[in-house]
Amino acid sequence: MREVGLMQEVDPMLEVDLEKRLDGFQLAAKFRADAPLVALFGPSGSGKSLTLQCIAGLVRPDRGRVALDGRVLHDSRQGVDLPPQRRRIGYVFQNYALFPHLTVEQNICYGIHRLPPGEKREKTGMLMKLMRLNGLGDRFPGELSGGQQQRVAIARALAVEPRLLLLDEPFSALDSAIRGKLHRELLQIREELGVGMLLVTHNLEEAYTLSREMVVYDAGKVLQAGSREEILRRPASRTVARFTGAKNIFTAVVDEVVTPGSPGGTEGFLTLNEGHFSVHAPYYPYRVGDTVAFCIRPEEIILVPAGEGKPPVGEGQLPQADRPAAENQLVGENRLAGRITGEIARGSAYTLFFALQNGLFGPGGYDLQIEIPFHTYHELGLEELKDGVAWLPRQAVYVIGGEP
C-alpha cells in the first residue's frame, strides 16, 4: 500500500523559462528553484499567477521551457507540451475552485476515481484526517468556511500525489487573524508529506515565513531569485530592496575597502560615504571610488536618546561577545546623531522619522525611517522632537547589487 503523498526525500528541481504576451502584458520569467518551499513574491499583476498557470500547463507560453526534476513538461523548441493531466503538478487556486456540486468527500476523490473503492476510501480518510476535515465529508463547499475550503482544495490536490504543489495566493481570501495559524499548518503538512510547494504571494511576511527560496517579480520580469536571506541582505536592485521593506535606501561612494583577513578587520568591511554621513558595511568586492546603493531596514536600526551613551544591550543586533576583539572595538561605529521629526503609533511598534544633524532634509523632513518596539519606545522615552542617536549595526547595512 502506498503512502499518501509519497514522502519525497529529494526536493523537486524546477526549471522555468517563459515568454508569454497577453493583452498588452508581457511575461518574461526565468528562474530555477530546488527548495522544498519556494515563493513567487511581487506586487499584484506582475505575472506570478500566469507563471503558475504556465507551469501547470493551463496556459501555453509563446516560447520557453518548463522542466521538473529534469522531466520536460514544456519545450517550445522541441515541440513538447504535456497536458495538465500528465504533469503531476497540483494546483490550489486563489478561490480554491472546488466543485460546488460535489460534497467534500467527492471533491477529494475526484482525481482518484479509478482507484479500487477500498483504497479510495482509505486514502480519502487519511487526507480528511490530515487536513482536519473529519465530519465534513457530506458537506458541500458552499457550507464551509474559507479556511475549510482551502483545506479541501489542498487535500483534493494531494490525493493524486503531485510532485509539486502550486498555491496561488493561498491566504489572501482569509482573515489576517487566522493566517498565522494556517501558515503553521501548511508548514506542518509540508513536513509530514514532504511535497514540494511553490506559492504565489504579494505579502512579504508570508513569503518570508513560508519559503526558503524567493523569486521576486515585477512587471512580468524576475528581478531576483535566491534564498530568502540573500534577497533580504543582498537585494539585486533598489526595486527589490523597496519590495522587501527596506525603507531607507541611499546612494554612496566607496571610501575605503578592507578586505577579509587584512589587519584591522578579519571579516573585512567597506566604508560608504553618502555625502552627509559615512557608514561601515559588510565586505563586498568593490573598489574605492565605486558608486553603490545600500539600504537599512527600519526595524534593524537602534535608536537611543542623545547623551545616553552606549546603545542598549540585548537587542540582538549587537555584535556577539564571542566575536574577535577587533569587531568589538567597532561598537561605536555607524552612529548618527539627529532628531526625531515625526512618529506614527502602529499598535505593537512605533514608526519614527529621524532627521540627521547634517542630513539631506531640513526641519520636518527625515532621512531615516526607524521602527521601535512599543516597550522600547516608552522605556527610552523616545518621542517627537527629541534628539537621539541612530545606530546602524554594520551587519544591517545591506549593499544593493547591480546598478546603483
Partner: protein
Amino acid sequence: MHAVEPIKATAEGAELMPDLFPLFLSFKVATLATVISLALGIGIAWLLARRRFPGKDLLDALVTLPMVLPPTVLGYYLLVIIGRRGPIGRLLEETFGITLVFTWQAAVIAAAVASAPLLIKAARAAFEGVDRRVEDAARTLGRSEMGIFLTVTVPLAWRGIMAGTVLAFARALGDFGATIMVAGNIPGKTQTMPIAVYDAVLGDNMPLANLLVLVTTVAAAAVLIALNRLERSAFQRNRHAGG
C-alpha cells in the same frame, strides 16, 4: 374525401381519439425534435462557449438565423434542401429510396431546425457561466476532457441547459410555418396540432378547435411543470453552490 371524414366524426361526437391525432403527432414531433436539438445543440453550444476556431462567427450566425427568419422562409429553405430535387433530398431518394418531404419525419426536421437555436443560445450562456478555474482544477487532477465535461461542466450548466430545453420543446410544439412548408397538411399523417387548429377554425369547426386548444394547453402546462420540477431538483442538489 379522406381528409374530411374524421372531422365529420367529431362533429357528431362519436369518437374522440382520431381528432386528437394531431395532438399526439405534435408531441411526438416536438419530443423527437428536442432530442435532436439536444444531441447536436449541446456540442455546438460548448464549441461556441469554449473554443476558438476559424469560422466561429459564421457558425454562430448560422445557428442564430432560424430564430430571426420568418418560419415560412425557414421552411422554404428546408424544402429546397431536403425536397426531391434538393441536394440532400435527391441523395436520400437515389441511394435509399427515401422521400422526406410531406412526411411526419420532415415535420421533425422542421421543428428541430426551428427550435435548436433557442437551446444552443441558452446552453452556450450556461457553459460560459461555468468557472473555467473549476474545469482547470479538474484538469490538474488528471481527468480526461470528456470526463470533465460530463462530471463538471454539464452538471454546473444544468439549469441553463434545462431552461433551453423547455424553450426548444415549446417552440417545436408550436411550429406552424416551417412545418406546413415541408410536411404539408395531411390529416392523419402530417397534420400537427397548430395546423389542425388553423384547419378547424378555417372549416368553422369550433368544437374541434376548442377541444384541441384546451387539451394542448393542459398538456403543455403539464410538460412545463414536469420540466421545472426536474430543473428544481437538480438545483436542490446544487443549492450549496452559492450560484
